[in-house]
Structure formats: structure tokens, C-alpha cells
Symmetry: none
Subunit: 418 residues, 2 copies
């Protein structure tokens, strides 16, 4: 069974609002096992709306519209569907009463253009709008179905759960296939292409299961998708490939699904009952901000010194002036000293030191923009990694934070130092 | 001139991600006076991508793709466009070198599947990707143009401003019609409805000019839009209403267009040659992160202490233990002491202290979740504001940072203390 989504609204074409309706419906239909191959957005224009409907009806079984159900002249969806199906559109008196009552209740002044919200194709199902004045409509003709929903996301979502989902289930009792389930594995320390090669045979050997990679600010995500009758079947059937992937990627795989690198690190630290503190230069407190982003972070995170200016590095952190002068603020030595001083000053188990040149200025031939040192100090170890980032300032800063978190994760997993 | 947008990516069809690229491009093209009548989303599938391209090419002059430029087998956009145009796709040695260099510079391992990112149609314009490895491509054939952009929004947006916009302007010098221009005024310290009442008559008296309000994480934005032949005409025609709005809202209006509260504060500080430092508890370095987010921030920002744990407040910041015990860490007194100690320890002109309960835990009847103190200490003044936030942890933290920045802005403008 194939569905197609048509969003109607000039404000979408002009980029004035974000199309959240399409994301919502796409996700909901995927869970029912309904395939969507195309999503189209079109304006409040009769000819173009009709053209879009014709193309969609030629390739899909179920067409879902959002938008264009309101009282104004711009609202054309029901008219166009009626014209396309060569069926009339008639005012339903009971619905007209409902709309009028709603106006009275809300102390709004009734104008006659509102009557069109009570017009429907005879034989169609009227979908109640619990959060607005424009009801929706669902109709089957031939082997195809057309569902018209209002544009405001709050109205549309409520209508979907309350009336659309039951309608689809009732009208397609046998056609709904098994639902589409998915999980996401998250990796760092490896490139997208590197991971593809590592898992190449698995990408090709899966029949029911789809594997898809994508990169996301220093992380690589692998989405595993398959149709299943329920979550249990999905888990059972994906278990072998999941286990194989995990075995091959253990040093890079830090989290699954909603879990973030921040949470993965925090979980490990809580398990090991370790505390941490940070001394940051170019990231200016961003790593600290991550460590304090979840409830209960006070159990593992003590504090941080953002030593942006060298005077702060010296006075507050206690980095010896001769070290700063001899090696420069951006150096392995200063990174290590920052990590160690952070640990000592706060009394934490782990200390992180970050120093680097985020850009765009401040680089030299010897120490170019993007050069960053991330150091980790613990009771038993003190080590530093040199990075070279190539993005703009904000990208670099975000990637430095991720890299530092990945380094802590590797350390906590005993994968580092190697 | 008509353009059409094609978003490529199965994750969009499945509703796994929101299509922000389409909104961005639609808004940008509208400003150039380029009409968009259709936006289509299609998956990583050869036949359906080709079908979508055929339909679009039959009705538009300019077709812009986002997504499908990466190194994996799923990435098909360039291949499909080449096939449709019956033109070859060839590796460009100089581009291959660039991609390889980028890998080397980032200390990433090269794999041969990455080479396809350096393949282009001969005669096309290669659009530089400053934030990723996959460049874009623009090509004209017949009277139609095809522009292919990467899917990750940060890469795409930078590429648009840097290379796509100039390409369109160069290739369509006469076709660009009157554009839709807009500017955004940004306010804090007033509600959306408060601002609406303050400007009510202006909302109704404008004919050519559209005014629209929207709320955004503690800020209120007012968008002023009108059609004009160029930026100059727009400026001239909107000047009277702009001046009237500015006059009525001077205490709340902190920035215009792309400028952020961070930049507005930084500009004022640079002008007054003042330096700042921060002592943060519940925001855990997020304010520091803001102050270091722009190039040249070292001129005004010295450093920060993230005193998350009370021991750090005492030992590192030097907050007297009896003050912490008498008033509690979340108190006006401790907030003021944090601001002052931050100033003294770093030697900055201004010191900010933030202490509060971001939630969801940690609240009591006397000190509920959302209670926050933000203090500002300078040579001549030391003052503290009490806030009550009602969002979840992350929303609260972001609003605390904004509120602190707005407080600094008001202080620098001599609007506070009142």
C-alpha cells in the first residue's frame, strides 16, 4: 500500500513556516507499514493543486492532504478533490449548526464564508476537529482513498489520532502490512566511508533489513530498519546483524537510539563512581555545559574553569608562566597542565584540559587554525591528543566538545591510551 | 522565473528528520523574487528520483536539489541529473586532491568510495563546501538550470550564501523580479501580547508592509516584510514605520536581523572597552560558551568558573562557607558573591553570578524548581534579579542565559538598575 502526502499552503512555498505536518504523518504512516514515496507541497492555487492531485492519484492508493480547509477563498482542498472525483460538495446542516455554535461559544462574529467549513462530499466520513472550526473529510472512490486534514499542526495531530488512524484501520483491515521499526547505532572515531567498508558485506547480505549511514557533526549514525509485526519480532530478527555490527565496531559504538555521547559518558562515570572537572580555553565552557545538561549531573560533575585569557590560565588555574611562555598557550604541555590543575583544584577523579585555535583568526604557520589539544588527567594517567579541525569556528568548537567526550568515553572503556 | 525544490532522502520520507532545507531555500528564493510552485521530497531511489526530476523539469526553469551528494551508494543525485541530461560525470583531479587533503588534514583514513564526491559534469560549476567533504554542482543546459546541494543544513546554508546566490545572480541578471524583502527586530523584557498592544495601530495602518510577531525562547521577533525593487527601496519605504516602532520599544529592542543578544552585548562592551567574566552554577558554562562563540571574543571575555558543586563554590570561587550555609547556594546573597568573586579573581570590569534550580529535581517548597538568581557586579554597582522559570531543564537553562545577557545589555544601556 502506497500513500502520498500533499501539503497545501502558500506560506510553505514561501518558506514562512516549517513543514512539521509532513514529518508527523510520514512517521505515523511508516509505523503502519504504509510506504510513502513522494511528498509534495503546493500553494493555494486551483490548477496547480489539481495537477498535483492528478500526479499523486496516478501512483498512490491513499492521498493525504493537509491545509486548505478553512473559511477563506484561498482554502481550496475540498473543492479540488470534489472536482477531481466529479462528485458534489454539499452543506451538511448538522455540521453548519456545530460551526455556528462554536463561533457563539468563542464570542466570535459569524460571517457567511464560514459555512463552507460545513460542506462535504455526500457519502464521505466527516473527521471531527476538536481543536478548531474546520472538520476534515475522508472518502474512498474506486480503489483509492483521499483524506483531507486541516493545516494547523495541533488540530491535524489530534484529528489524526482520534479519527484518521481508526478510519485507515477500518478501511484497510488487510492492506496494512507489518510496521516499520528502526533503531540507530551511534559511532565516533571512524568516518562514514570507513564504517561503510567495515560493514560492506552486511549492507549487501541483508534482505529484509535496511542499513543506512549518515554523518552528523563528528558522529556517524547507522539506522537499521525492517518491517515487523511488533517490536519483539523486530528485536529478534535484527539481533544477529546487530550482534555482528557491534562485534566489528566495538571501539567506535558509543550509544544507541536516543542516547547521546554526553549520556553515554555520564552513565559510565556514574557506574564507576567517578567525578570530573574541566579546564577549557577555546571551547569556553561548552564541555561544561554538556556535563550539566542532564538532571542529576551534580553526582559526577564538580565544576570547571574557563581559562580564556592567559592571565586566567596563570592566576586562576595556576599554569606556570614559564610553561605558557615556553610552549605557548596552545600546546600539548599546557593542555596537560590544564587537565591536571583542573583535577587538583576541584578534587575530581578526572580532569579535562582543552586548548586550541577555533578560528577564524589566531592561527600561525606553526600553529594553524583548527589545531587543538585535548588532555585527560587521572590519578594513574595523563595523556593528550592533538586534533586538526577544518570547519568554521562554531563547527570546530562543537567537534572539539564531541571529540573530548569521545576521548573520555574511550578512556572509561579502557580503549585509550592504546 | 520559476524554481522547484527537490529534497532527496529516505529519512525525510520516513519522517525521521524535519525538512528545514526546504524552508530555508524557499525563503531565500522568495527574496530574489523567484517563484516556487512545487516542493517535492523523494527517497534515495533511482527511478523515483528520475521521475521527480522529469516532472520538475517540465514545469520549472531552475531545479534545486538538496541531499544525495555523499560518498555512499545511496547518494544518487549527481548520477541521476547526469543521466537525465545525457551528460557524463567525471572525476575532477583537482577536486579529488582537495577531498583527499581534507581527509589527511583531519587525520581521517581515505577510502576509495569517497572519490565520487569529486565527480562532476564537465562544464558545470563546482560549488565549494566549506563545512563538509561533498561539494555541490550547478549546471545550465538549454534554458534550464540544475543546482545540487548537500543535505546537512549547515553545509547547505553556507554553500548557498557563498556560492549559489552569486551563481544565480550571475546567470540570471535580468530574470530576477522584484523581491520580497524583510527585516527582523528582536525584543526582550516584554511579552508577545504586550508588544502587540504597544504596536496595535501600526499593525492595522500598514498597506504594503506586513508586520508579524513570533516568540522564540524568551525573545520576541517582529518581522517586517514588503515587496520592493531593491534593498534601498525597501529601506526607504519601511523607514517611517521602523522609526515609529523603535521609538516605542527602545528599552526592549536589542538587535536587528542576524544579530544575536550575544553580539549586541559584545558590541556594547567593545565600544565601552569593558571586560567580563562569569561564575555559573546551574547553567554550567553555557553563558561562558556564548561569550566565546564569536571571533575576537578574547578582547572582552576573560574567563569563568563553573561552580557546580558547592565545594568548588567555596574552594575555587572563594564564597564564604557561612554564606552558603546561612542562605543556601541558591540565594540572592550567593549570587551576588559569585558575581563579585568572579570579577575580583579574573580582574574583569564586570562579573556575572548565576545560581538557581534548573530542575526537574532539587526544588523545595521554599525554593522551587525554576528559581534563579542572576547577579551583576561592577566597580560601581552590584545587583541581583530573581527569576521564576516554568519550562523543562533545557528550556530553563537557555532562558537563564538569555535573561543574563539581556540584563547585561540593559546595564550597558543604562536601563538597569531602574
Amino acid at each position: 500500500m502506497r500513500a502520498e502526502l500533499i501539503s497545501v499552503g502558500t506560506e510553505l512555498l514561501l518558506g514562512q513556516i516549517l513543514n512539521t505536518n509532513t514529518k508527523f504523518l510520514a512517521e505515523e504512516l511508516a509505523a503502519l507499514g504504509i510506504n510513502i514515496y513522494f511528498q509534495t507541497t503546493v500553494g493555494d492555487n486551483k490548477n496547480r493543486l489539481l495537477q498535483t492531485l492528478r500526479i499523486a492519484a496516478a501512483r498512490a492508493d491513499l492521498i493525504i492532504f493537509t491545509g486548505g480547509l478553512g473559511p477563506t477563498e484561498d482554502d481550496l482542498t475540498k473543492e479540488i478533490v470534489a472536482e477531481f472525483l466529479q462528485l458534489p460538495l454539499e452543506i451538511v446542516p448538522a455540521e453548519l449548526e456545530k460551526v455556528k455554535k462554536l463561533f457563539k461559544k468563542s464570542h466570535l462574529i459569524w460571517t457567511d464564508n464560514n459555512a463552507k467549513q460545513a460542506a462535504f462530499i455526500p457519502g464521505s466520513t466527516i473527521l471531527k476537529n476538536e481543536r478548531g472550526t474546520a472538520p476534515g473529510m475522508a472518502i474512498q472512490k474506486g480503489k483509492k482513498s483521499y483524506i483531507m486534514l486541516p493545516g494547523p499542526p495541533r488540530e491535524m495531530m489530534r484529528m489524526y489520532h482520534g479519527y484518521v488512524l481508526p478510519w485507515i484501520k477500518e478501511n484497510y483491515p488487510h492492506e496494512l502490512q507489518e510496521g516499520l521499526y528502526s533503531l540507530v547505532l551511534k559511532f565516533m572515531g571512524i568516518t562514514e566511508s570507513g564504517l561503510e567498508i567495515l560493514l560492506e558485506d552486511l549492507f549487501h547480505s541483508q534482505k529484509e533489513i535496511t542499513l543506512a549511514l549518515y554523518a552528523k557533526l563528528g558522529e556517524i549514525h547507522l539506522r537499521i530498519t525492517m518491517r515487523a509485526s511488533d517490536k519483539e519480532e523486530f528485536k529478534k530478527k535484527t539481533a544477529p546483524v546487530l550482534s555482528e555490527i557491534k562485534q566489528r565496531t566495538t571501539r567506535y559504538l558509543f550509544a544507541q537510539d536516543e542516547e547521546t555521547i554526553t549520556e553515554a559518558v555520564a552513565q559510565l562515570m556514574l557506574k564507576k563512581k567517578l567525578t570530573i572537572s574541566t579546564a577549557e580555553s577555546c571551547t569556553g565552557g561548552m564541555l561544561a555545559g554538556q556535563f550539566t545538561s542532564f538532571p542529576g549531573s551534580s553526582e559526577l560533575y564538580l565544576g570547571s574553569i574557563v581559562a580564556y585569557d592567559n592571565s586566567v590560565k596563570e592566576k586562576l588555574l595556576g599554569i606556570p608562566l614559564d610553561l605558557l611562555e615556553k610552549h605557548g598557550a596552545v600546546s600539548r604541555e599546557v593542555g596537560l597542565a590544564m587537565a591536571e590543575r583542573s583535577r587538583v583544584l576541584t578534587g575530581s577523579d578526572l580532569g579535562i584540559g582543552i586548548t586550541g585555535i577555533a578560528g577564524p583568526g589566531g592561527g600561525t604557520a606553526e600553529k594553524p587554525v583548527g589545531l587543538v589539544y585535548v588532555a585527560l588527567a587521572a590519578k594513574d594517567i595523563s595523556n593528550c591528543v592533538e586534533y586538526h579541525f577544518t570547519g568554521d569556528r562554531e563547527t570546530n568548537r562543537q567537534r572539539i566538545v564531541r571529540s573530548a567526550q569521545y576521548l573520555i568515553w574511550k578512556y572509561l572503556q579502557n580503549y585509550w591510551p592504546e
